[in-house]
């Protein structure tokens, strides 16, 4: 069997590996689908819904990160509807917690911020929720700021799937979902954390950061974690 398949992305015929997701197929062909939860090397969860695409013959939108590309598939990754929905999703994320870029360590290096800029989010039509959330400073080297967390679960997955420590998980449900350390310990009291810092490096926003950085100074080394998972042979 040919290991390559052909699909159509925004009208253009491209070749991709059999078994690749639509997201990966697009990326391999230099086409960018927006996304915040998906990351190379981690099991896709389809949580942020920004990578939704239209597939010809399917009457609903599909998440490109969890949908395998199939021979002959015709995918639309940009359309007026998708753009509008993605903007709405970003606005919802921005309204959910306290994303105050001006005082954020990740300002200028934040995936949420740069995606919002790229998609032209100039204002948020929804009311800001302004939740009162804490910051966990108990770890000697790292900080967890719930105010910036978008619940993408990259940290959860990298810790469980790559580091094998499973320090992080999500507690609560609905709008009250919160990132939690082990069984609701402070990060500093964690018994499993190896302080490897992978969670910090994969975090798309300023929710997880290294201590000692001021505004704009925290630059994540996401790519190095991706390289690591590639060396391990993990992920797809």
């Amino acid at each position: 069997m040919d290991s390559k398949i052909t699909i159509r992305i925004d009208g253009e015929l491209v070749k991709t590996d059999r078994g690749a997701s639509i997201f990966e197929a697009a990326k391999a062909n230099g086409k960018h689908i927006p996304g915040l939860c998906n990351m190379k090397g981690l099991k896709p969860v389809g949580a942020c819904r920004l990578c939704m695409v239209e597939v010809a013959g399917v009457n609903r939108l599909l998440p490109s990160c969890t949908t395998p590309a199939q021979e002959g598939m015709s995918v639309t990754i940009r359309s007026a509807r998708l753009d509008a929905y993605r903007k709405q999703a970003l606005e919802l994320l921005l309204s959910e917690r306290n994303h105050v870029c001006a005082v954020c360590v990740s300002n200028g290096h934040c995936e949420l911020q740069s995606l919002a800029t790229a998609l032209g989010v100039t204002n948020v039509r929804y009311g800001y929720r302004y939740p009162k959330l804490g910051v966990d400073l108990s770890h000697p080297r790292y900080v967890l700021d719930h105010n910036r967390c978008i619940l993408c679960t990259r940290c959860v997955r990298v810790c469980a799937e790559v580091e094998g420590a499973h320090v992080w998980d999500i507690a609560g449900r609905g709008i009250h979902s919160m990132l939690t350390c082990e069984m609701n310990r402070t990060w500093g009291a964690s018994r499993n954390c190896t302080s490897c810092g992978k969670c910090v490096q994969v975090c798309p926003t300023g929710a997880l950061a290294e201590k000692g950085f001021a505004v704009e100074e925290m630059i994540k080394r996401t790519a190095s974690v991706e390289r690591l998972t590639a060396v391990r042979g993990g992920g797809r």
Binding site: P44, V45, G46, A47, C48, R49, L50, M52, R60, L61, P63, T66, T67, P68, A84, Y85, Q88, A89, L92, L93, S95, E96, R125, Y126, G127, R129, I150, L151, D169, I170, G172, R173, G174, I175, H176, S177
Partner: protein, 1052 residues
Amino acid sequence: MKRITDLSSFNAAHEAGLKKLLPATGRIAVGMGTCGVGNGAEGLYHALSDGIHSRGLSFHLAQVGCYGPCSEEPLVNVWLPGKPLVILHKVQAQDVAALLDDLSAGRIPEELALCKVEEWDHITGQVKYGSGLPDLPKWNEIPFFTGQSKIVLRNCGLINPGDIEEYLAVGGYQALYKVLIDANPEMVIEQIKAAKLRGRGGAGYQTGLKWDMLRKAQADQKYLICNADEGDPGAYMNRNEIEGDPHGLIEGMVIGGYVTGATEGILYVRAEYPLAVHRLTLAIQEAEERGLLGENILGRGFSFKLSLVEGAGAFVCGEETALIRSLEGRAGRPTPRPPYPAESGLWCRPTNINNVETWYNVAPIVVKGPAWFTETGSPKSPGTKVFSLVGKVQRTGLVEMPLGTPLKTFVYDIGGGAPATKTVKSVQTGGPSGGCIPKEMFDTPVDYETLAQLGSIMGSGGMVVMDEDNCMVDVARYFIEFTHSESCGKCVPCRVGLDQMLAILNRFTTGKATEADLGTMDELSRMIRDMSLCGLGQTAPNPVLTTLRHFRQEFEDHLRAHRCRAGVCENLALSPCENSCPLHMNIPRFLELLKADRLEDAFLSVVMDNPLPASTGRVCQHPCDNRCRRSGIDEAVNMRDVHRYIADSIYNGGRYDEMIERVLEHRFPPTGKKVAVVGAGPTGLTCAFYLAMMGHSVTVYENNADAGGMLRYALPEYRLPKSVLDDELKLIYKVGVEFVFNAVVGETVTLNDLSTMYDGVFLSIGTWKETWVYLPGTELKGVLHALPFLEALSKDEHVPLGKKVVVIGGGNAAIDSARTALRMGADVTVIYRRERKDMPAIPEETEAAEDEGVKYAFLATPHRIVSGEDGGVLAIECAKTTLGEFDSSGRRKPVPTGEIQRFECDTVILAVGETVDLDFLKASGLKLKEKEKMLDVSPFTLETSRSNFYAGGDLISGASNVSNAMGYGKKAARNMDQKLMGEFRWPRLWPEFEYSMVPPAHVSESGRHHIHELPADERAKGFMEAVTGLTPVEAMEETCRCLRCDIREGNH
């Protein structure tokens, strides 16, 4: 317990079961589903058990599940040999002694009986009970069961769920035995496919295809799961099915296991169903002991393990991937598909999930074949579906109907429509994932596709009927609050989108929404629907989308008028009575002021809210009575007659002039603006009063010689004495309103004249034209129209009236004409084409007329008026009708029977409705509504298409009643003032009152005080007022009956 390993032991158990079902001693069975137990069935069972024991009787006493009609609980079914099985309803423990007396004497207590069952088709077997008792209706002859077809509920309420032998007696486990003996799993799957059995959980996927996938999947282990995580508010089908017939579910799953190659099954039941869990656990145990489950089933070598897991009550666990995660001990959050459970489900093994009801359909299809199954239901959706019919219907319960049955059958035929005095507004299907379908669409067949087209879903089968007391905005808010709290939080649209949606809906229900919110809500709904990860999020916006589509008006009312017509959204109303009053009178305030013995303050409060309190106190349709919360205890507070009492006391007590001065203290200084009001009816008078109070110079143009409109010229003296009206008009004169009588606008003065002479014009010319009816003979001498008839009498003109009068119509004008004609010495019959309860007239009036001697003929449609020799009336002929199907108004349509009824008479009064003077409207150049012949105005400001021209009353609504008309006048005054002055001055007009805002410590326990009517024979003699008001003590007592709904938390 003996294991069943061959046909003879199978038949032995079957026979043993039949002996319990039809014992020679007779049988008594108590419906003990959760619904029955909640209504006292447990106590009843023990009372029966004690009674049987202490009297040494030999009846076989059993517990059964629910038979369906939940509103009739507790149900008891009794059977005596040779007689039919009789279902007794609303049986109480105190009935037990008499019941046992009867039964031991061989009598069936027919007075408690709901219906009888002569023979029952259990699908898998038949039971013949016996015949007789001709006076009792058969089960499917009573309205609740009409059209029902019991396939899933075949055993519910008839067999003991705790006794496997009774299940075997009605043919249970035969299907399994057959499948195991045939040993042809592919054929069974083909049968299920051919039967087109669709998943009853709501999505409607073909069960046969799913089973086929599982059968073909290669794995060391496969699983079957039964989804009994029924969590929709208002839905309890699965609960009752399991409680009533647990073995039906087990049998379906064992068959499924055999044909798909799964050897393990899991029942995922929500923990909130303890009785279902209990009965199912026992049933599993019993089936295992009998060799019908577990190892080597029926000795045929097939093994199937079944276990029960209690779900912790997360709604999202109804979503199959979340359910599987929950079974694995993980958080109940859905995961993306693919992979589908059929490839990788529980513990990464191929898994098939079906809803409870789907499993129940398996055995019948196996026994009777797919052709039989497809006979019921619609071509695309064969079979039946169980619905829980709840909400604002008279009969609630579990209803199993063929798919494709129209909604109106459920609501009206089975449910009996809304309780008296209310009308059904919509039906919500599918719970939080479904939508609301308005009554105009009740012809809709209930099947998967049609409901989806309307934006709703079938869902698991919840059917919540809503009436005018339900606010659709609040309904949407309620369901979003539900899905919001049940969202797992994994994906952004559902987690944050529903939170934002709830915030927006909360703004609507508290009157804080903005115009932008309407659009934001719509686009947000679409985004959540299209972008969410699982079914919960994808369907969560349905309640919003459907209410926005079908009830947009209600959203606009909340948004623009800050008004919740249903009176549900508490922040938008003072109290239910205030909210229902077209004039929005502060009813609790005047009641409290009178209670504190402050009659003058009470009068000021009343008259500022309603400038004609004594007239409305006599003739208002009192919508407040329908909303009063006191009616939940005994009867509504008599608010109308208390304000009549307050007004009468002031008018007759010599303090009126003083009070007029107090009213005038609140008048604004002159503004220099001039306003014309056209029409001196209640609408025009009200508008003029408020405009004058706000300092404008107001002139009222009226084509009659005096003010009052319909109050003066249509209401007979015995209902509203002219002297009362004259008293009230005094205040209106005093606030400075000028009148120009005998002025016909359009002729003596034109609208253009008014436009140049005044800064604003208010049109309220009412509906004085008779509706044209096509009826042969209307040209005859002796045929009158109601309004001219009443008008002529009020002007003391002579009206020739015969001896026998027939009035056609059912509204207030018909009753007024009838009672007037009666007082003139005629013999009167009122002919109405529908039923008595459909008459628009005030019920008290209809009754009073009857007491006085007016006769009624209902369900009679006038056919022709027969002429006599002199060109007069000889008789009227009517087509007799019978009640047909329900129309969109929720009333049964009269259908001619072909029979003609003749009423000898010499006078016919037509009171079939009034309309606007269309010629005037056409000549006015103002924009009209397209279909109805009415003026088109902005619903929120009442401004017409011409700037500064406003209109109100019957002119824009069609013929209505006094209080509605006055409400328009008040609303128009508020908006006209704002337009004229450029600021909102309305709130400044109202006097402030200091009065108790503490909830009453002792609410009077007295019943409602009714008005006093003169004896019927006495009042029918003349035109003296027929009703005297409340006495001071009665009025005071009524004020003490008020529960003070206007007091909120924090006020005390």
